[in-house]
Structures are given as C-alpha cells and as structure tokens.
Amino acid sequence: MRKWASLLLAASLSVATLAACSDANNTAEGEGGQTAASSGGSRLDTVKSRGQLICGVDGGIPGFSFVDSNGAYSGLDVDICKAVAAALFGDPDAVEYRQLDSTERFTALAGGEVDMLSRNTTWTLSRDAAGGNGLEFAPPTFYDGQGMMVRTDSGITTLEDMAGQSICVETGTTTELNLTDRMREIGVQFTPVVFQDADAAYASFAEGRCQGMTSDKSQLAARRTTLPNPDQYELLDVTMSKEPLGPVTINNDSRWFDTVKWVTYGLMQAEEFEITQANVGEMANSENPDIRRFLGVEGDLGQQLGLPNDFMVQVITAVGNYGEIYDRNVGEGAELQIPRGLNSLYTDGGLMYSPPFR
C-alpha cells in the first residue's frame, strides 16, 4: 500500500507549495508596501526609511573606488555615494557599499539590490533606453576614453602593432565592444581573452598571457599603479572611444533619479560658486541670491526634491565640491595625477556644467 505514502507526500508537497506561494506573497506585499516602486512609490522613500544608502561600486580601482585591507572605501566614485548619503541623511557614512563586477552590476540595480551604481559605468544609448538595459544615467562624473596598456619593452606603439596578439578584456563592458569595433575598423586581427572579473584580467595581463590590456584610460592608469613594477607598463597614445562615466539609477523612478542627478550637479555647481569644504559655513552668509538658494538659506529647492533644504551644505561639508573630490582622489593631490582636461568646469574649457539651481 503505497497510496498513503503518496497521500502524505502529496499533502506535504501541496502544503509546501502553498506555503511558498503565501510566503512569496507576504514578502512581496511586505516589501512592496515599503517600496512599491511600480505603484507610484519611489526608491527615495525606501532609502530614507532604511536610513542607509546601498551603493554599488567596483572596489578595485584605486582613485575611483578602492577598498583597503581594513575594509574602508575611498575614491571618486565612492565620494559620489557619500555625497548622496550626506544629502539624504546628513551623514556621509550612512552608506553600505556593495562590490559588483561588470556582469552583475545592472541586474543588481534592476533587482533592487543596490539603490544606485557609482561604478565607472559608461553612458550609452542602449543602456539608457527602455528597450535596452533600461537605466537612468546621472550626469557623468568623469569623462574618459578607452585606452590600451602594453608592456614597455614589447615595442608596441600603435594599435596596428597589436596584429595577431592577445588582448585581455573584461566581459560585460563597453570596452569589449569598442575594442572589436576599432580593430575591425583598422583591419587588425587579434585574439580577445575575455575575463569575467577585472582582477583576473589584470593578473593575466601582468603574467604575460596577453600582450595588451584594454579598458577606460583612467582605470588603466589606476590599475597600472597596482601592478608589480608599474614602470614596465605604458598606455598607448590612442583613444578608442568616448566613455562618459557616471552614477546610474533604475528606470521609471524619476524622484530618486532626480535626487542623484541634482546632488551630482550640485557638486559641479559648488565648484563653480567656489564653495569648498573649508568655506561652506561662511558662504551661507553670502549676499549672492544664487548661492543663498543653492545652500538652502533661501527658497525651498531641497524640499522640491524631497530633501532637506540645506542638503548641499551637508554634501559639501562631507566631501567638498567636485574639484576637491577630483584633486583628492585622482588629480594633483593623488597618486594618479590625471590632468583635469575634459573634466574641468565649462568655464575652464571642460565639460562640467550644471544647469542652474533655481
């Protein structure tokens, strides 16, 4: 008589499935009630009620986002996370960092695992468009281009010299596609060696598996400093693409997107107003109505975004203006010494330009 066995089993199975369903329902409703991104609620409310921002970063690029052996994060990308946290909570440390590799970053964002990406992510149409990855790109915080790193003693000086060579590249990146495009354009045959994580790619390059390593120039420059004997490597004098890198949020959530967008713009605007970490207190007494509005002494710009009115005071106190962030992490005050170039304010011939805070 196996019937009873089957009965028992069927019972347990159906109970299990039902339990699973009701569980799914509960969690769905429980969390959905909190976030309900689909039904008008915004991630902004989720983040506020959580009291902490979850920020997806790379974690392996000195100067942009790097976690040291004590688990402390630093870098330009990290400072953007801190700025958003400061705007929301007045506390730049109310951030939980999540290290993501390039293949998992968008799903982590779309799945709600992180609130935003600040992870040297290139802004492209297909990533932005609803028919592609369906993301929202805040203004670029770093204008970059794709480069190629080779060994100094390899004798390679141009991309054409790379014919027949192996090139290490990280998968899931725009650089993987740009590399293919450029090489096709100049008709050079090469062998891509595609790695899932950047660490393995750079290690393989350093071990001599590949003759070239391609990525964003800033990343190559940063990673070069972490290789043993950095002097043995150099960047070719070629720029293979445009790589505007900036923070990213999920599609169809404009309240949250606006927050991230305007905090980012605020950093540039602060530099334009010459408001720094040191003088932000005095600047609040400024007579300039633009600055008074910007710092929330007058008007309700912050409230319109759903933030405290003095959110930019908090941001600047925490991380300084864009110029300070840049110098501290990748510019003159840092090891990388990357010239401002395109990343200067528009007043200095660069591309950093904030719409008016009005």
Partner: protein, 388 residues
C-alpha cells in the same frame, strides 16, 4: 443489513477522495506559483520596457570570441555567437570524454595492480582529485600551472614536436588534405575488420580451445599497418619554431582550452577510476576462481571474464559522469575559455535579456545531455546480459 459496498465511508477516510484532492491541490499550488512568478516577471519586464522574444538573436553580436571552430566575425548575429560557444563546449567535451575515460580506466585498473606503488599512486590520485573542488583545480591548472609556463621567447620544447609557452600549446596535427580523409576511412574499415577477427579469435579460443595464434598474427599485422598509416599516412604537421617565440604548423591550443581540458580530465578521471574499481570489484570472486580453474591466465581472466561483466556495472555510471563533464565544462568561463555559458553571459549582458538567454542555455545543456544519454544507452544495451 447493508452490503459492504453500500457501507458509507466518511469522506475524510476515503482514500480516493484524498488522492484526488491532494493531486488537485498540487496542481493548483504549482499553477498558482507559476502564475505569481509569471505575473511578477511580466510586470517587471514591462516596467523595464523589455519585450519577451528571440528576435534579438538576429542582431549583430558586436563582440569577438577568442577561439572558434568556424570563422566568426563580430558583425555576425548573436545566434552564431551562441553556436560558436556551443561548439566550443562540444569540442572540450568530446576530447575530454576520450581522455578522461582512458585516464580513469587506467587508474581504476591500476588499483588492482600487483605493484604496491602503482596501487598507492592510483589511490592517492583518486583521493586528492575527488576531495577538492573542481573550480579550485581549474584555477590551479590555469593560474598556477599554465601561467607558470615560460614566455614565448624561451618556450619549452618536448621531444622536438611540442612547444609550450604562455602563448599556448602546439602539438602535431594532421594536415587537412584529401589524403587525410582517405586514410582515416581506411583506418575505420580496418578497425571494423579487426573487431571481427578479434571476436572470431575469442570464439575459437573459448569454444574450440584453439590457440588463436594465427588470428593474433593477423591482428598484429593489422596493428602494424595501422600504426604505419597513422604515422606516415595522415601527413602530420610537426610544429616548428621558426624564430624565438614563433611556432608554425601543428595545432595550437590556447592556454584556456588546455587548462580546462586538463582540469576536467583529471577531475572526472578520479570519479571514473572509482567507478571502474567498484565495477571490477562487483564481479564476484567466484568468477575469477572459476575462470582460473579453467586454466585461463590472469590477464585473460580480466579481459574475457571479469571486464565484460564489470562493464555492465560501469557503463550506466559512466553516463552520469559524462553528463557531469558536460555540465562542468561551463566552469570554463571562469578561466576565460569561451564556451557556451561564457558566450551566453556576454550576450545577456550586452542585450539585457536574461530570461531568453537562460532558456537557450538550458535548452543547449539539456540537448547535450540527452545526446549523451541516448548514445550511452545504446552502448549499454549492447553489453547488458541477454536473457535467453
């Protein structure tokens, strides 16, 4: 007085009622689960503006693949990229199955060797390989072993015909000419003929107690001819080092392929060795003794009596090992070998279509496993006991 059939059984004690109810509940439960998941999926996809469909497969892929069996250009569509990935998987799978079977059988049989050292080596090998994770072994092979090879300028040379360096492994390989195919056909015909001769020899030896010497001579002659054909007829191209760091001719295997192959072969070999050992052990001792008492030599006992019986135990278990090999080959993506999972990963990343790509991936693996099962079942049927 009511007859037993009329007796009213309370509904809750009627087994039929429960059977139907529980099955209905199971169906309803599964359907509800599917509906909830599907509903969430469509809502999520709608929110992200994704349309379900496979039309994207015809868009140009835009990325290039490190090694492919057919020429693949980046402007070719995604489905071709995925096909290239599947072929890469099949490539490592076929070579892997052959090599791992040889290695595993050798190790399994070695565990019955008269030589104590050989037995211990077989045991140590099996215990090491089976008790450490495959992914770790793959990393070890790739990063510790193959990255330990010298740079192309001072490459290793083995027997004047193999070159090893960080640029890859070059091995001798037949040139692709009509002669090659002709000789391969000859070899195939010869192998079938040899099989017949072998069968006849065994039959004669068993049934008539013949020495089988004449057939053995034939077989040896055929073997020598086959060896000659293999050596000289196939037009082997020996890789040559024309300049320091430059190797021409032969077949060049990438480090990724070599590392994946080595890792899979050694790992699966450990499991096959255990299967072979258990299979041989499963043949009862009486069979050995009976065969011995008939005057057969130890080697013959193994070949004629024990191994065919062990095969019945071994073959079904091999099926699942080959399937594991196929599934494990997906770990190649962690060491940059462009097999199907790796290409699927890139495809999903560049298109943002995880569901479709995942379905394709699942279909590919289910298909590969189905083929393995069918082939193995055919083989299995030919060795199973034929009840008369």
């Amino acid at each position: 007085m009511t007859s037993p059939s009329d007796q009213k059984i309370p509904l809750w004690r009627d087994e039929r009622f429960w059977r139907i109810l529980l099955q209905a509940l199971a169906v309803v439960g599964v359907i509800i689960a599917i509906l909830i998941f599907a509903g969430n999926l469509s809502r999520n996809m709608q929110q992200r503006g994704i349309q379900f469909g496979f039309a994207f497969l015809r868009n140009p892929a835009g990325f290039s693949i490190g090694e492919t069996l057919f020429p693949f250009l980046p402007n070719e569509p995604y489905f071709k990229a995925l096909l290239a990935g599947i072929l890469n998987t099949i490539r490592v799978l076929l070579v892997g199955i052959v090599l791992t079977t040889i290695l595993g059988s050798a190790a399994g049989i070695a565990s019955f060797s008269e030589n104590w050292l050989l037995r211990q080596i077989s045991r140590v090998y099996v215990e090491i390989v089976r008790n450490t994770p495959l992914l770790l072994q793959l990393f070890f092979w790739y990063f510790a072993v193959f990255f330990g090879l010298p740079a192309p300028q001072n490459q290793l040379e083995w027997f004047g015909s193999m070159y090893l360096s960080k640029a890859g492994v070059s091995i001798p390989w037949p040139q692709n000419t009509p002669y090659l195919w002709m000789w391969l056909a000859v070899l195939l015909v010869g192998a079938i003929a040899a099989l017949f001769v072998w069968r006849q020899r065994v039959k004669l030896m068993v049934e008539q107690g013949a020495s089988g010497r004449s057939q053995l001579t034939t077989l040896i002659a055929m073997g020598v001819i086959a060896l000659l054909i293999v050596l000289f007829g196939l037009g082997w191209q020996i890789p040559e080092s024309t300049a320091p760091g430059l190797v021409q001719g032969g077949l060049r295997l990438t480090l990724e392929f070599s590392a994946l192959l080595a890792g899979l072969v050694f790992y699966t070999g450990g499991f096959i060795a255990e299967i072979v050992r258990a299979g041989i052990q499963s043949v009862s001792k009486g069979q050995w003794e009976a065969a011995r008492s008939l005057g057969l030599q130890s080697g013959l006992v193994m070949r004629l009596v024990v191994f065919p019986q062990a095969l019945r135990v071994i073959l079904p278990a091999l099926n699942s090992q080959y399937q594991n090999l196929a599934k494990n080959s997906s770990l190649g993506f962690a060491i940059a070998y462009p097999e199907v999972y790796s290409v699927a990963n890139t495809t999903y990343n560049q298109t943002g279509r995880p569901v479709e790509v995942f379905l394709l991936l699942m279909a590919a693996f289910l298909l590969i496993n189905l083929v393995i099962t069918i082939v193995m079942n055919q083989l299995n049927r030919s060795v199973q006991l034929k009840e008369r």
